[in-house]
């Protein structure tokens, strides 16, 4: 080794003539080093590229989360939507400030005569009470005749009962002498193929009125008023469709019209409107202290809500199971990703990456997977529900049934899903991220 001489005794070999910066401007050495960290954009970029590099694995993992969230979103959107639709339909002709009043049983039948109605109207919180009597009868039109239920109603009964009958039709019922409204089926039974053609026609009628239907507190005699030829005709002023059934056969007639012919028929059912919905329960209690029972749409809504709460409970259990499987898939992916990238962690640390940088890389990859999966799940779940709705409405249109919206995604659910996917990312990402950040650079570089 003759060309070597002992150090410091020889000359420096090949000293440079000048020094030029290579990449950036030369940083002058300072013991007070400014601590820098990887930018979030860089961390996300590496995470994104890593997901892209392992496409199949990423698709399966993101897909797992998306399917889980998607199924839950679809079921919840349909669940809330159907619940809303049912409540909407139920409350359409049954406003929530209305109380239905009827008898407890036929054995102990009490009539809603003037005195009883007066008492009810005096109850605090009641705004108005309207009555109805259902009477069996017969309609004759030319050659056709049919049995019918006559719904004899007080002046504003329809205001409390039906919102689907137009104001003019309701007015006409009480403005025209001996007017009635008939159902389309009744019109067809009377020989009118097109129900609208029956409007303006006159029909003959009779009703079965017994003495126990007559109010006792009325001064008029208990016998039916003698038949007057001019009183046995009724003028049809409108056709009303039953909101629930197409084959209903009944007619609405002013109570006074029937009374004029058969005597002072009392109400058998009543509807009461309360001034304030919050007082409905106390009003009902007072009415029920008499011989009557009450019903309110509030009861039905409570039943519907309780049914759907059970459905939601079951959905939550399913959701937890589905998401647990997705979460395990994610955890597996991230753990495998860590094992595969151990050397990457090593070189990054060797090149100066800090524990926090490595932690961020892995936790944000977990967030990327969970947020991507969650967003896709929300999108496809909601889109799927909308698709089902559109499909059903398309079929409904084909069969001449009204279209309905039964998809509803409450914002509270969306917020909870966002919170959930954040925690999903955090919980599944934190352990691999902690493990990765703790790896010693040299051990990682030697890892096989």
């Amino acid at each position: 080794m003759s060309f070597f001489s002992r150090i410091r005794k020889g000359k420096e070999g090949g000293a440079p003539e000048k020094t030029v910066p290579l990449g950036g401007s030369r940083v002058s050495f300072s013991p007070d080093i400014h601590f820098s960290h990887m930018l979030l954009s860089s961390v996300l970029f590496i995470g994104w590229r890593n997901m892209f590099a392992n496409r199949m694995r990423s698709v399966l993992t993101v897909g797992g989360v998306a399917i889980g969230i998607g199924i839950i979103t679809l079921l919840i959107a349909l669940g809330f939507g159907v619940q809303g639709m049912v409540i909407r339909e139920v409350t359409k002709n049954n406003p929530s400030d209305i109380i239905d009043i009827s008898n407890k049983s036929l054995d102990n039948f009490a009539l809603l005569d003037k005195a009883t109605i007066g008492k009810m109207q005096n109850i605090d919180g009641i705004k108005e009470v309207e009555v109805r009597a259902s009477i069996g009868g017969k309609f004759v039109s030319g050659e056709s005749q049919t049995d019918v239920t006559l719904n004899a109603i007080s002046r504003h009964f329809l205001d409390l009962a039906r919102t689907d009958i137009r104001e003019e039709t309701r007015e006409a019922l009480f403005a025209t002498p001996r007017a009635i409204l008939v159902t389309p089926k009744l019109a067809s039974l009377l020989g009118y193929e097109n129900p609208e053609d029956i409007i303006g026609r006159e029909i003959e009628y009779s009703a079965i009125v017994t003495s126990d239907m007559i109010a006792s507190d009325l001064k008029e005699g208990e016998e039916a008023i003698p038949l007057d030829e001019s009183q046995n005709k009724l003028n049809i002023v409108g056709v009303v469709k039953d909101p629930t059934r197409d084959d209903s056969v009944y007619a609405y007639v002013p109570l006074e019209v029937i009374r004029a012919r058969y005597g002072n028929i009392a109400g058998q059912f009543a509807k009461a409107r309360v001034e304030d919905e919050s007082s409905i329960e106390s009003v009902r209690l007072q009415i029920e202290q008499t011989a009557f029972v009450t019903e309110s749409i509030v009861d039905t809504i409570a039943d519907i809500n309780s049914f759907f709460s059970i459905v939601r409970g079951i959905l939550i259990v399913f959701g937890v199971i589905i998401m647990s499987i997705s979460a395990m898939g994610m955890l597996n992916t991230l753990s495998v990703s860590l094992l595969q990238r151990t050397k990457e962690v090593g070189i990054l640390k060797a090149l100066g990456a800090k524990r926090s940088d490595i932690f961020k890389m892995f936790i944000f990859e977990a967030f990327l997977i969970s947020f991507l999966g969650g967003s896709l799940g929300l999108l496809f779940g909601y889109g799927g529900a909308k698709g089902i709705n559109t499909g059903v409405n398309f079929l409904a249109q084909k069969y001449d049934v009204a279209s309905m919206n039964f998809v509803q995604l409450p914002s509270a659910f969306v917020i909870s899903i966002v919170v959930f996917i954040f925690f999903l990312g955090l919980i599944t990402g934190i352990f691999p991220a902690l493990r990765a950040s703790k790896i010693h650079a040299l051990e990682a570089l030697r890892y096989e």
């Binding site: 080794m1 060309f3 070597f4 001489s5 002992r6 150090i7 410091r8 020889g10 000359k11 420096e12 070999g13 090949g14 000293a15 440079p16 020094t19 030029v20 910066p21 290579l22 990449g23 950036g24 401007s25 030369r26 940083v27 050495f29 013991p31 080093i33 400014h34 601590f35 820098s36 960290h37 990887m38 930018l39 954009s41 860089s42 970029f45 590496i46 590229r49 890593n50 892209f52 590099a53 392992n54 990238r341 050397k343 990457e344 090593g346 070189i347 990054l348 640390k349 060797a350 090149l351 100066g352 990456a353 800090k354 524990r355 940088d357 650079a441 040299l442 570089l445």
Partner: protein, 255 residues
């Protein structure tokens, strides 16, 4: 007689033992070393003699059992882990035996990694990396995956990566170990020229005696001790002048 450069690395009484099971296995037995600015130090010796351990201790990755390592008057092992991480990132380029990569990134993005770790954006770092990839003659491979390249090409890329933040030092752990003779010579030539042109102090572990000519100083280690320490009188430091001059011009114009 040229002026003697200042000491930039000073290793004193450096000992290192590894704890294996119940036993402490000593690897370094009190190394004393002074390295001056601009030196191209080759650390040579048989396998297991402790040269990689010494290199990693100077690089701030392997903590010493005893002794100190001063770099530019800073006692690096008296500092925190994060301080050393920052120090490595800003002032020392690292060329490992196997050029480890972020597999999902392209060649140029991998070269940009030290800049990204330093808190620069990818875009800023890639701008610098674009000049360095030309310097090592690998421009046309910028958008390939690193593992598509041959061993020699990968080591050139690793060299470009080590230069990204304009380091004062390069620590290279047997970078030619997996290369054939020609690729090894080319890489050594490139490292030598860069060292001379940019006055970067280099410490490199090597096994290959044919490459001793590239170093300005040869430190021989046996069984955890320095057995000889000599400057190379016939230091060649082969320079690919055209490549370096072009890169220098571009760098000075744009940075």
């Amino acid at each position: 007689m040229p002026e003697e450069k200042e000491i930039v690395i000073k290793v004193s009484g450096l000992k290192k033992s590894f704890h294996v099971g119940e036993q402490d296995i000593p690897v370094l037995f009190g190394i004393d070393l002074e390295i001056r600015r601009g030196e191209f130090v080759l650390l040579v010796g048989p396998s297991g003699c402790g040269k990689s351990t010494l290199l990693h201790t100077i690089y701030g990755l392997e903590s010493p059992t005893e002794g100190t390592v001063f770099i530019e008057e800073e006692d690096i092992w008296a500092k925190t882990k994060n301080w050393r991480a920052n120090f490595r990132n800003r002032y020392i380029g690292f060329v490992p035996q196997q050029p480890f990569w972020i597999k999902s990134l392209t060649v140029i993005e991998n070269i940009a990694i030290p800049g990204v770790i330093a808190g620069k954006t990818f875009s800023e770092s890639i701008t610098i990396a674009a000049k360095l990839i030309e310097l090592v003659g690998m421009g046309k491979w910028a958008n390939h995956r690193p593992f598509d390249l041959s061993g020699g090409q990968q080591q050139r890329i690793a060299l470009a990566r080590s230069l990204l933040l304009n380091p004062k030092f390069i620590i290279a752990d047997e970078p030619t170990g997996n290369l054939d003779l020609k690729a090894g010579e080319q890489l050594m030539s490139l490292v030598g020229s860069i060292s001379r042109q940019f006055q970067i102090t280099i410490i490199m572990v090597t096994h290959n005696m044919d490459q001793y000519k590239f170093g300005s100083r040869i430190i021989n280690m046996v069984d955890g001790r320095v057995t000889s320490d000599a400057i190379n009188q016939q230091f060649i430091g082969m320079i690919d002048e055209a490549t370096v001059q072009q890169a220098m011009q571009e760098a000075s114009q744009t940075i």
